[in-house]
Each structure stands twice: as structure tokens, then as C-alpha cells.
Symmetry: C3
């Protein structure tokens, strides 16, 4: 189903009815509203103006649209900030971050929590049982604009309290943080300072705890709102729209507070910002990288425990990347269908009409500011027609490949990269991309989630392998490819007693005795069962297990123990491909040879092929017979769909 | 005529007379003094020491030099800052910018305005009717070191008051800024905050108003001083020395407070700092780019309403660019004559003698610290001799080509580049450069200034096309080449109702329906009447007008309507050249084929050719007959001048 | 002899005895302890816990180890910072630098000086006459993490007082700083502000004085501790461990407070951080650049007046560079022997065992966290065995070549580079490297130190040539190669009256009349006795002296006057090599042709060859006969040693 984001407060009221009618005519089911409307809802302290919003919901609902109502906490109004300036967050230089944009709030501000509760109760109380309201979005893009971490006095107090709960005694904290090093021992939780602004690096365990604390604050804030919404709005869903490429808080944990996940998909913006090399990005500047949206679909499907929406789908150029190109013709349709192929229940475009004023005036909509339909809007109409033809899509099923993605891993590697280019999300993306280039469907799952039923599991790295993470790896019957640094840290960010890979040594009898980061220009060749080169990172291993590939100096590069395969480096593309060409078949999976820009994805008995590349792709003859959508020759920026035996 | 900048306070008094005599012998007419002398003029609060300055002016005037006297407001002394610390400006991080260099003053500080008035009255009162004083320079290089914008409490109060005057009601401001977006609606002007330091982007209209306000503050400050000077010093000129490459305030507006404009010409420093590519800059590191000084001459001639001086001419290496080379032999002479060719009335060198101490000790002068004549000084002597031979130069006349340059355009594109490399001054420079490579003289004029009498008008971009700007474009009989984004914004920084090009649609019936920025490495080919490639920026247009070139996908790249030609992209060099090879002849202009480093410029019936390139350039035979200066073969770093029929 | 850094407080007490035994068995003589142990020594204000440290020293001393005891002032504990927050330093933005790492102290804080005195007296009183204590290390790595300069109110007051002592009257300061320029004249020392945070550049002389003042504060702090230690611990040495690549304070001056110098040698970390080009660095990423450690050995041997230790020797990968590779096999042994070859008395590894927790958990040790011996540890064992075989090494003697290194030069060029890539330490390194590639031993000496006995003296640049520096250059009988900018500044940072090279004109009758920095891509060819190209910097000279090489435009590039040779540019490698191939033989020195990665070094009658390169190096036949260590073919990462006639 399709949805759209709409801002009645941005348009003359006499446009609303036409807009609602046009939405229905365009095949749109859901309309999200009001996430930035606080100053209209409560124009003065305590004085609520519901009338306009009642009318807007009335018009939309009256047209048959189902409303996704939002809490407006992403943008508290100026009068509130002036009355409660402690709401403002503090940056890492100790400077208050000001009013004038959005997310000017600290998750540990008591005034903010109190005011958030008040406005949430007001909105939920007003619309909780409104028949037009299908469900709720809490806030908007938690963490956007680097707003998870705040460094003010209230943040410090909340952190101290959190540490008190975590450690019980200051002695336990001193031990966990290793404060004996550099004479940083503390006598009480009141002596704790924020791990920022010191002369040089603060204790990694302290920084890790600050990341955990900050993530917990996001979750607690989300739960506070969810509890209020569920109390006032029974039978409606509660969700949040996560932003792609953010690892500032644990999305799996926040996802547990929601009925399902939604995320905001901007393939071109993300492709501009992702650390691709220029040559690698060039062919995809106007299409997006072929794995960019897909990676997030598979990630948020996991975060939503199988259910996800696109709450904001890019419908044309955006305004916030360094460069903002126009998508090639067909891409808006392709992205939409790709989301459905990956299991999205709803794809909701951001936004109905491009806003001619304010910060996002360069962000396209389905309609232009002059009320004409944009190029993206025309593609959305085509999708709507195709959806009607397609009927109900089959349910998405578990993929044969799982990739383990862990937010704590992202924080640990952010705190201690040891080589400047050791980037966690890039590493996971590279592994995911290679699996997809070999034709695989991939589920992205949390560390500790069940790995039952998978044929192949990919764990690019899990520096701290939790007990649950270990148990899941132990229990799976899949072939498991494990990357470097896995098991290299305890929960307290220290090197495990028996050296890395720590608890993984129960499956792989080996010790990582040395590790080195490799500057660009330095690489170490690998030969054996897999061949290629180590870049960015390499380990030295002592082991009695099977060594199936070695570095040039004879040291183990790949260690195998039963179905567990350990790769002791960041692989270059050749080595990564070689590794996956081994472990995927070892798990019983067939490989599909695809051009560089083509990707496949199954949804139930349907298989989709998406062509991001510059050349047409001709379907193999045997697939043509079962074509459901598209043509035997899949043109660039087009897709095809056929039926497969399940 | 020649001038020089002199600092009697830097030298032993017994050198003054010799210096003055040497200046006269060197052919110098004007001597600028005292712009940084406050601490000598008023060494303690309220205690003025005029004696030394009386004597200095006496010596200079006595030698026959005409004094350009300055107000010393670029450097208030420490005792004043200690008494009135609110004078200090505030940076965008909220930090006070300190004492110890210059321009440590905020244009909205009431104490500063009061003290500026006091010292200006004192100096003007003392020397207003001094016979040696020919005129006045107000302050020094407004805006230098990023000092137009200040973010302190007085700046906020003044901004609020300015907004009150501009909008009358807060409702009108809310509408203009689009504050309904992101819940930023304000209930009173007192709720306005400075558009800085927010979590992410603040409203573009708010930032635009802050730029307008800040520019107005500069103008008001300049007018305050001008009024005092005119009251005390009748019959003397009042000017200001603008710095090149600065777009922080509206120079056209400030220019209206002056009798003529002067600017400070540092071709090598500017060439080091301008965003040239390395290969493009390399041949000109030691000569300056051949259009760098010329562009500014033509800009400031417009700002001075036809009259300008060079108040500071680079006489050798400077000290403030990343790299500071020695000019090639001949360049100081060439730059000086080039200024005259472009209509300068006076070229004044900075400075008489290199100062052996303090911040600018690495800045060359006409003399070295040991009182010997520098290489640049010898070239200045040559110029003086040549000037004597040349006699009075003819008056500069209107050029056949106008390029429209708009400071508001610079601010808008700074606020909303949408592509990281969309740089306004670079864009104008590129268009200017290409016209000059094709042999044209160019006037650079304000948007809204009359375009009568021009054959060809170039408007690289005018995002907000004002009523006056539109009227001037409508009234001209020239062929007009208009660049992308023109008419794309209202005065309130919003997209015009009928889409871009907004008011330009009265001449060009078209709509820009999509725009995209193009990352380096991405370009779109253009074919048709003009061929080349779009880089950096491209538009999608719907139109019934003539389309004379198209992008590869068939979408219009060039739209023509009568004498108006719209170019829907940032052109690469080939496309820009092709466009100008069309519109210049269309306006009736002949093109001259020149080597890459040679430029022409007419002054009355004289035509000059300047050779910045590495190869000699041989004049066409028919020109040799009318040679006035130079030789038929124009050597590198040399120039020639011949008489043409007017 | 060998040493090691040990942290008993990091390990269970029941490991201590085994560790001590293992140290002795590994051939270790010295063990450095307690430099970060304040929070264990004084866990609460005034409550000292000596028991554990008594036991630790007892165990170590009992095993026959000699203890290098430290004052723990690099890491004052949190309770002290909470009681005396004025101890914290202030960064250049005026922000207090916080607790949580190390060196969170300002050298001008009165509270800090008082507390440092108190803890130093306590520790010295407790262990001053302990028989196990061989000597003392004061603090740890002065200046590390950019901690020489602090910008708080106490720093300002101390600076004002220092200026009062230096200048006596404010008039003298005004003259020295040239405050008449830009109206910065001061009426009293109380009006002085710190030369930071101004709108643009502050007076170079003011900044220079702030650097001198800050350096003096380091020395005074060091002397304060040294006086206490000498009073309480007669017969023990007092030293400090300097960090490589730091020029923030005058190491020669601080060295005068010590019995000898020690330094911390991290060849791979320094090679990662040094401004090498990528291609130049690539072959040495895993070995270190072949001159990196050597340069510092020769520098600190001079600072220690002939005596130095390595207090911290890299034993494997470190944790603090952008990339941290594992050293190639053999390098830890090679680095150790290279230190001895350069005259080190002791090489002490950092650290005994890698710490599994806290900030340096990725820093290797001789042992791994699981108590196994690391790769570096095995190489240290080999060194110990080799040392036993070698017996007492001969004394190090004066080298034939001196390179003059001046911390004031580093500050001056930092304050006024004039070309962005004019980097003092890089310049000295380049000259040093070239001399060593031609087979020379080099002493690095302070400006003003005696140059008697040298054959060739290299003075890459000495912007301010002090009287002592001039006297030493005048007195030497060596051939002296002098680089550009020498003598270009007075002690007050002004251009000397007779132009550069100022006082050097007594030896070289010449004047530098122009100087230019050369952007990358711009170079000027030099031909004559030396040929090559000027890069980065070039001068224009007028002289009656012998000109033995000229630039392309005929201007002098090399001026010779007797044994003084002046090079008027930053030479590229070819020109630098040509210059040294002239001046070294002119001083009577023979050149040795060596591969790019091989270096020689004599210690008494022994000559060592170290092979940093990728290819084996075969010794000339005549050397094989006197081989003492190693083989006729010196493999990569290996060395050889032979006996020479002295």
C-alpha cells in the first residue's frame, strides 16, 4: 500500500479537500500528519488550538484516507524553549545548541520529559479514539542531526544515576573502566565526569557506557510516549520513523517498544554521503547504490521483527546532501517496488507537495509547489496502478542468509577504530553487498537473535560477543563466516583473558596474538582456499585448527572449525567474493551470476530483479515463462518480477 | 596618477622629509595616512596628541603631496576596549573575538558607534579644512577577516529592531520566514533569535534577513562617518577602500554613500585563494590570473558609479595567502597600467616602505626596510615616467557588454548552494573571463541598474530578480544571456508561485520543473546551437518557447525568447564559450581571437593589450601603425597600447 | 643495557614476583614505575598509601632490578581537580580542558605548582634513599597532547609578570612588539592580553614571547621537581622522558636541568604522522622511516649533553597513530641496536605487558595480556643475548657532521611560515636524512653550542641567529652549509636593519632583497656547481661574494664566502644531494654510496649498518673481515656490525 506525508498547516485550508481527493485518486491509503505542528496545536502556553487539526483530520478521513498521527516532539516551539531553556541540548564543546531548526531537545532534560509527556497526553487524548487515526508515529527521526549525545549538567546527573544502577558500587565501576590506568580512580559516582573534553582520549569503557546510557535514554523516551499512546489509543499501531545510516542508538532496542519499524529512505542522499570512492559512486549518483535502500530494508525488517514501512520515500531530489541530483527516470518507481520486494507493508512518500518556503524548499514532493504533478508523482501513480494489478503480495519469508548487525559493535569501533578507515557500517555494507551480488536474499539480524533456519550466517565483526550472541552462533546449523575483531572485547571494553576471539574460542581454537591496521597503500596478500588481499586490518593468529588460507608470511588468514570460518582481515573485494563463493555453497546455497548493477529479491513465491546499472539485462529463458511484471529484457532503471517455485 | 600608503608613525621623524621628497620625485601625487593611528592620536582616553600628525601632514603637504586622510576606526586601542568591552564582536560560536589585531568591533555595538562618532569628529574637526587634505578614506576594508556578521546580544537587539521596521508585524515575519515549517512560529519580535547555533539548518529567509541586516549596518556605519566628514571637510572627497573577493555586504549600497570607490588590489594573493584547480592556477601563480584584477576593476568602477581608484596596489610579495610568491618582473608595472586601462583615476601602492616589524613585515613595499628601492618600486618609477609621457588619459567609456552582479545573489547561494560547488563569485568570474578571452570590454553592474546602451548583457544568475532588476532586463535592447536559478526565489526566499524563473517568465515563457546539482565526475552533454556539457548544476524545463539546445535526454538546455537566451545549467568551458560566441555577435559585437594569457581593454580611443601568458604575442599588422606604447611583439609580462577609431 | 616500564598497580600482586624474575631472566636491568600512580599513592586528600608501593619496590629491587622512580604529576587524581579546578589548563578557545585522560594541568597554575611540590616531596621523601632506586624520572612527556600552551587567567598573569621581567618598561615592550602597527600600543603590562583569539593575526613578536614564556614555565616546573629530588635523593640521577617530534618547548633548556636525557621512541607512530608523501612513506610503513629514530637519537644525545636513554621503546604496534601496523619481524631488535649504535646507554621497552583495559589496551608490550611473550618480547630476548655476547660497547664519540637545531627557529617558522609547507622539523629532517644517505654520522646540536671539531656543519635555517649562535658559526673550522631565512629576524622578530642574513653578513657579504614561497607545482631551476630545483621557498640575493649556482633568471642560488656556503632556497632532493656532495668532501669527509634503506652509524671503533629496505645489502669485501655481529649479506630488517680503525 502507498502512503504520503502531508502538512495541512502549510497550505490554504481550501486546498485540503482537493488534496485529499487527489491522494485517494492516486491510490494512497495512509497519510502521515502533524509531527512538526506543535506551534499550531499549542500557539501559547496551555492554549490549544485543535480546531484546524480536527478539520484537517476530518477532511482526510472523510476522503477515505487513514491517518498516521504524530506526536509533535521533534519541534518544541520558541515559547517553550524560552520558559524552559534547560530543554536545549549541549554539544561536546559544552555549548548549548540553540532554537531555530529541530530536535533542540536533550533526552535527559527533566523539563523536556515533563513537557513531552504533557503534549503527548494532549494529542493522544484528543485523537486517540478518532476513527480516522490508524496509528501513531512517535516523534521524528530520533538521533537526526547528531542529537543522541548531549553533554550538559542534566546529562551528567542522569549518567551518574545510570552508572549507579549499572555498577552498584564505585569500586565495580573503577574496575570496569580500568581507572587505575592514568590515575583516574573515583571515590563516588558523584565524581564521575562526562567522557568528553579531556586533554586526550578518555577511557574507552567510559565512552562505551556513555553511548549505552545515551541509547537507553532514547529508548526510555520512546517508551514513555508509547505507553501514553497505547493507553489513549487502543487498537492503533505505534511506530517511529528511523533514519537510515544512523547508529547513534540501538535501533533493535528501540524497536522493541514499537509495533513495527518504519524508516526514511533517501537512496540518493545516502549514496552521496556514504564513504564510497569516487569511481565506485559515479555510476550510481543518479540511481543510488543498488544495495543502499535494500540494506536498510533488510535491517529495519529485522528491527520491526518482520514488519516495516517506508515512512518517507524520496520522490525526487532532496536538499541535504553535499550534491543533490535528480533521480533518473524510473527510479522512484523502482525504489518503491524494491521496498515492497523486501517486504515493506506500506511505502509512504515524503512529501505530498514540495514546500516553497523554509528549510526543505529544495526537497521534491509528489506535487510541485504550483500544484502540478512532479516526475516522481507520475511514477507513484504508475506504482499505484501496478499495485492494483498485482493484487495482494505474498508474505515475506525468512531469507537463507543472515547478516549479524550490532549497534554496540558500531560504538566500539567508533571509540577504538585503531585504523582510521575501520568503519563498522561500511564493513557490514560490503559483506551485504557481496552476498547480494551473488544473488542472495539477506536478513539483517541483531546479535543474540535466533539464527535458526539460516543456511549461511555472516558476522562481519562483533567485538563484544555477548552471551546471547555466542549462544545464537553456537546453536545455528548454518555455515558461519566470522570477520576480524570478533570476540576481541569484554562487556567492559577490555581484551578477554585468553586473548581474542574470546568466547568464540569455544568454536574456533585459536588466539589472535597481534593485530595491525593497514594504511591505504599497504595490503597483505592472501592465498589458499580463498585468495585476495587484506586491506585496512590484519590479524596474526596462533591455532591448531584448520588453516585454509594464509598470508604471504605463512600466518593464518582463514581458520576453519567445523561450520565456523574465521577471516583474519578486512578483505578486499576479491577476497571477500572468494570467501562468499565458498561459504554460501557450503551452506547449500546456489549462486547467481549478475551484472554489477542488478539485484534480486524474493517475496514469497515472487522474485524481483532490479536494474540499477547502465545496460539492459536479459532474463534467462526459463524465467521468462513465469514473468508477472516487466519484460524479458530489463532496461536500466526498470525491474521485472516472476514467479518461482517455493 | 599615482599614490602611496604611508605610515609616518612607523618611521623616525627625521626620515619624513626625505620620504616626502622621494615620493614627489617618484611621481606620486597622493599619500594615504593614519588609518591605524588611533593609539598615537589619542594615547589616553580623551588626551589627543595632534602634534606629530600635524607635523607629518605639514611635511607631506609641504612637499606638494595631496593627503588622503583616514578615520582610524579599523583599530581602536586597548584602553578603549578595556573601558568598553561591548565593542568586541562575537563569533558564530558565541565567543567574543578579542583584541590584538584589527577590526575588533561590532557594527551594532552602541558603544562602538558612539566612540566612532567621537573619534571621527575629532579627526575631521582637526583636519577637515587642512589645505593638504584632498579627501578622506573611511575606516579600512569593511568586512575584512569575516567581520560583517556578529552574533552578540547587541546584534540580536539591533536585528530585532531591524525586523520590526522591515515587517511591521510578527505575523508578516512568520509568513516571510515560513516559520510554520518546523514549528518555529514567533509571537513577538522579542522572541526572534539569531539564525545561528541551532541543531541544524535555520530558516533560509531568516538567514537572508540577517545578511541584509548586517549589510545595512555596514552602510549605516559608513554613512555616519561620511556625514561627519562632509560636515567638517567641505570640498573634499569621501571614499572607502573595499577589499577584493568580499561579498559579505552590499558594496553597491555602501558605494552610494561615497564620492567614488577605491579597492585594494592583490592579484597574487587573490589568485592563491580563488578556487582555481591546480592546473589552471599553475601558469599564473607569479603573475596573477589575467582576469583577477580586471574583474575587480570593472566591478568597483560600477560601485563607484564610473569612478574608482586602486587604494592599495600590490608592489611585491604579500604575507597573507597560503603561499606568497614574488611577482614576475614587469607585473607591478603591468598591474598598474591595467588599472589605468580599466579607468582607474589613481593607483596607490601599498606601501611606501616595507615595515620590518609586526604583522605585515613580510609584505613588500616600494622601498625595503633598509630604505633601498625594491623591484616593485623600480617598476613604479617606470610607470611614473610613462605616465608623464602619456599625458592625460582619455576618459573611460561605457563597455558594450554588461555583466550583472548582485550581492543578494551571493548571499542566497551561500545560504542555499544545493550543490557544494555552486559558488556565486566563481560563476560570475567564469562568465566574465570567457567574455574577456573573446576580446570584450565588460562593465559589471548592479541588478536594477540601467542596462541601456549595452549590446550584450550577461546575467550568470539572479536567484531573486527584483522589480528593478526585471525592469532593467526588460528595458534593455541588448541580447541577454541569463543563467540558471534566475528568478528562482522571491524576496522572502521562497519558490515563486508559478515556479522559476518567476518574473522572468514574462520574457521567457517556461517553467523550471526540476533542478539537480551534479557532483564532480557527473556531467550532462548538451547539443544544438551550443554544445558542451553541464557541470555542477542542471535544470529541467517545460516551455513553449524556442529550444535551441538540448540535453542528452531531450530536455531543453537553452531556451530563447527574442533577445533573451536562458541557459539551463552551469556550463563547462566549452559550452560557455559556445554560448558567448553566439550571444556576443547576436548583440552586434565582433570577437577577437586571443591567446589564453592575453587580454584587451579600451579606454576612450586607446586599446591596451596585457600579456599574462608565457609566450610573446605579436600584434596584428594593422594595429602596429597606431602603437602608442610598447612594441609590436608584446613580451610576457608586458603590454602594448594603440589608438583605435572610436 | 635494557630496561622496561612496569605498572605493578595494573596486575595482581601475586604476579609481581614472577614478573620481576622474568625481567631479570630477560636481561633487563632497569624498571621504570609509578609515573601514573598518584590515585593509588594518595587515594584521598592527605592519606598516603605507601604499603603497596613499598612492596612493589621491594619485589623489584629484591630481584636485582634497579628502579627508575617517577613523580606522578602527569595524572593528578579527580579529587584534587575537584578541590583545585584552577589546575586545569585552558585551550585556545578559552575552554577549560577537562579531567579524564592525562596532562590536565597548566604550568602557570599556582595551585598546581603547590600540589606538585607537595607530591614530589612526599614521593622523594619516601623513596629518596631507597637502595633499589637508581634514579628519577620527572613527570612524563612534557608537552604531550599540546599542553605547553594554556590560555587562562593565571597564564595571562604569569605572562604579564614574565614580560615585566623581560622588558622592564612597557615602552620597551611596545617597541619590541611593534605595537604602533595596528594601534596596539599598551600603557602598562596589565593591559597585555594573550596573543590568541583576536580577529586575525596577532603580533608575531607577541606570539614569540608567549612561546618563550611557555617554554620557560616548563623549565621552571622541571627545575622545581629536580631541586626537590636532588635534595631528597642524593646520588641518584634525575631525568625526564621527552617525546619525539615535539617542539613546543626548548628541550635544550629543559635538558640543562637533567643529568641526562631520555626519549620515547615510536618509529612506526612517528612515520605515520610525519608529513611524508604517500609514495615516500609506503615502503617504510611497517619498519619506520630509516632516519626517524636516528634523528631523535642524535637530537636527544645532544640535549643530554652526550648521554641519553630510550625510556620507552616501541615493542610492537601502538594505539595512537591514524594507522597502527605491526612492525615487520626483526624491527624491534633493529631499533634497539640502532639506539645503542647512536650511543644510548639504556633501551627501556614500553611496556612489560600489554594492558588489557583502558586507553592503551591496543599498545603492545613485551608480554601479551595473557602473560605470553609477544613477538617484540622475543626480539628483546635476542637483543639481551646479543648484548651479553657483545660485552661493553665502546663510548660514543663526536660525529664529524653537526646539524644545528633550534627550538626558537621552530616557533618562528610556526608563527610565520609565509608558505604553508615551510615546516622546520621537516626541513631539518631532510638535511639530516640526506647526510645519512651519504653515509655520515651526525650530531644534532643547539644553536650557540660549540661547533669545534666538526668537519661539516649544516644549518638548515636559523631565522634568529643569536650572538652565541653567530659566535659558534664564526669559530668553527668546518665547512658550513647554511639554509635560507637564516639571520632574517632579530630577537624581537623584526627584519634586521641591513636586511637578512643579518649578522651572518659578517661572513657572507650579501643581502636578501626578496623572498617568495613556492606553491606545490611551482619550482625554480638551479644550475651551477649544484643543480636541482628550488621548491617551497626561494630568495633573491644581491651580493659581491662568489656565486656558485644561479636560478634560471640569473639570480644567485648559492653564495660562498670562504667555508660558508649559503643556499638561497628550500632544495628539492636533487639539489640537496648535490649540495651535500659538495660540502661534505669540502670538509674532508668521504661519502659512502648506500641503498635507499640502508644507514650506517659508528660507535667508537664499531660501525653498524641497518637495513630498513626491502632488498639484502652485501657488505663490501673489506668490511667482512672485521665483522663483529651479523653476516656479510645484511637481510632486510637486519643489521651488521664491524670494527673499523679509529
Amino acid at each position: 500500500m502507498l502512503g504520503v506525508c502531508y502538512y495541512p498547516e502549510h497550505w490554504p485550508e481550501d486546498w485540503w479537500a482537493d488534496d485529499a481527493t487527489a491522494m485517494r485518486a492516486a491510490g494512497i491509503t495512509y497519510v502521515r500528519i502533524a509531527e512538526f505542528a506543535w506551534s499550531r496545536i499549542e500557539p501559547e502556553p496551555g492554549r490549544f488550538d485543535w480546531a484546524w487539526l480536527d478539520r484537517a483530520i476530518g477532511v482526510l478521513g472523510g476522503a477515505g484516507l487513514r491517518v498516521v498521527m504524530c506526536t509533535p516532539t521533534a519541534t518544541p516551539p520558541k515559547w517553550l524553549i524560552d520558559r524552559e531553556p534547560s530543554i536545549l541540548p549541549t554539544d561536546e564543546n559544552g555549548r548549548t545548541r540553540g532554537f531555530g531548526s529541530r530536535r533542540h531537545t536533550g533526552f535527559s532534560s527533566e523539563a523536556w520529559i515533563r513537557e513531552s509527556r504533557r503534549i503527548t497526553e494532549a494529542v493522544a487524548g484528543r485523537y486517540g479514539d478518532n476513527q480516522a487515526v490508524a496509528g501513531w508515529q512517535i516523534d521524528n527521526e530520533f538521533g537526526c542531526h547528531d542529537t543522541v549525545l548531549s553533554y550538559g549538567p542534566e546529562d551528567l546527573r542522569a549518567f551518574q544515576a545510570w552508572l549507579g544502577r549499572r555498577y552498584g558500587s564505585i569500586g565495580r565501576l573503577n574496575e570496569a573502566w580500568g581507572t587505575v590506568f592514568w590515575s583516574a580512580e573515583l571515590r563516588s559516582f558523584a565524581e564521575v565526569s562526562l567522557p568528553v573534553g579531556a586533554v586526550t582520549e578518555t577511557a574507552p569503557a567510559a565512552r562505551m557506557d556513555f553511548r549505552r546510557f545515551s541509547s537507553d535514554q532514547v529508548r526510555a523516551y520512546c517508551r514513555m510516549q508509547a505507553d501514553i499512546l497505547r493507553a489513549h489509543s487502543p487498537g492503533r499501531f505505534v511506530t517511529h520513523n528511523f533514519m537510515g545510516r544512523f547508529t547513534g542508538f540501538d535501533h533493535h532496542a528501540v524497536g522493541e517498544e514499537l509495533d513495527f519499524a518504519t524508516w526514511d529512505s533517501y537512496p540518493l542522499g545516502f549514496t552521496d554521503q556514504f564513504p564510497f570512492g569516487d569511481a565506485e559512486r559515479a555510476p550510481f549518483i543518479e540511481t543510488g547504490h543498488p544495495d543502499m535502500a535494500a540494506f536498510h530494508h533488510d535491517l529495519y525488517r529485522g528491527i520491526g521483527r518482520g514488519r516495516f514501512w517506508i515512512m518517507e520515500q524520496q520522490p525526487g531530489p532532496v536538499n541535504w546532501a553535499d550534491w543533490n541530483p535528480v533521480p533518473k527516470p524510473g527510479m522512484v518507481r523502482l525504489w518503491t517496488w524494491e521496498a515492497f520486494a523486501h517486504g515493506a507493508e506500506v511505502v509512504s512518500y515524503f512529501r505530498w507537495r514540495q514546500c516553497p518556503f523554509a528549510q526543505e524548499q529544495m526537497h521534491a514532493g509528489l506535487h510541485r509547489p504550483n500544484r502540478s504533478v512532479s516526475a516522481g508523482g507520475k511514477e507513484a501513480l504508475q506504482v499505484a496502478a501496478e499495485l492494483r494489478s498485482a493484487g495482494t503480495l505474498p508474505a515475506s519469508t525468512q531469507a537463507p542468509v543472515a547478516l549479524v548487525f550490532d549497534y554496540e559493535a558500531a560504538w566500539m569501533l567508533d571509540i577504538q577504530p585503531q585504523g582510521k578507515d575501520f568503519n563498522y557500517i561500511e564493513m557490514c555494507f560490503r559483506w551485504y553487498e557481496m552476498a547480494r551480488r551473488l544473488g542472495q536474499d539477506v536478513d539483517i539480524v541483531a546479535s543474540g537473535a535466533s539464527l535458526a533456519g539460516y543456511r549461511t550466517v555472516l558476522a562481519p565483526t562483533l567485538p563484544h560477543l555477548s552471551e546471547a550472541g555466542l549462544a545464537a552462533l553456537s546453536a545455528t546449523e548454518a555455515t558461519v563466516l566470522i570477520g576480524p575483531r570478533t570476540g576481541s572485547r569484554s562487556v567492559d571494553f577490555s581484551i578477554p583473558d585468553g586473548l581474542p576471539p574470546g568466547p568464540l574460542r569455544s568454536m574456533l581454537p585459536m588466539q589472535v596474538v597481534d593485530v595491525g591496521s593497514l594504511r591505504p597503500g599497504l595490503s597483505h596478500p592472501v592465498t589458499g582456499k580463498f585468495a585476495g588481499r587484506a586491506i585496512r586490518w590484519r590479524e596474526w593468529i596462533e591455532t591448531d585448527a584448520d588453516v585454509t588460507a594464509r598470508f604471504h608470511d605463512g600466518s593464518p588468514a582463514v581458520v576453519e572449525g567445523g561450520r565456523y570460518v574465521y577471516l583474519a582481515c578486512w578483505p578486499d573485494a576479491a577476497l571477500l567474493e572468494a570467501a562468499l563463493r565458498h561459504v554460501l555453497p557450503a551452506g547449500g546455497l546456489g549462486l547467481t551470476e549478475l551484472p554489477a548493477g542488478v539485484r534480486l529479491r524474493h517475496r514469497g513465491e515472487l522474485c524481483f530483479a532490479f536494474n540499477y546499472g547502465p545496460e539492459p539485462w536479459t532474463l534467462p529463458d526459463h524465467l521468462v515463462r513465469t514473468l508477472v511484471m516487466g519484460h524479458p529484457v530489463v532496461e536500466p532503471q526498470d525491474f521485472a518480477c516472476w514467479r518461482v517455485a517455493v
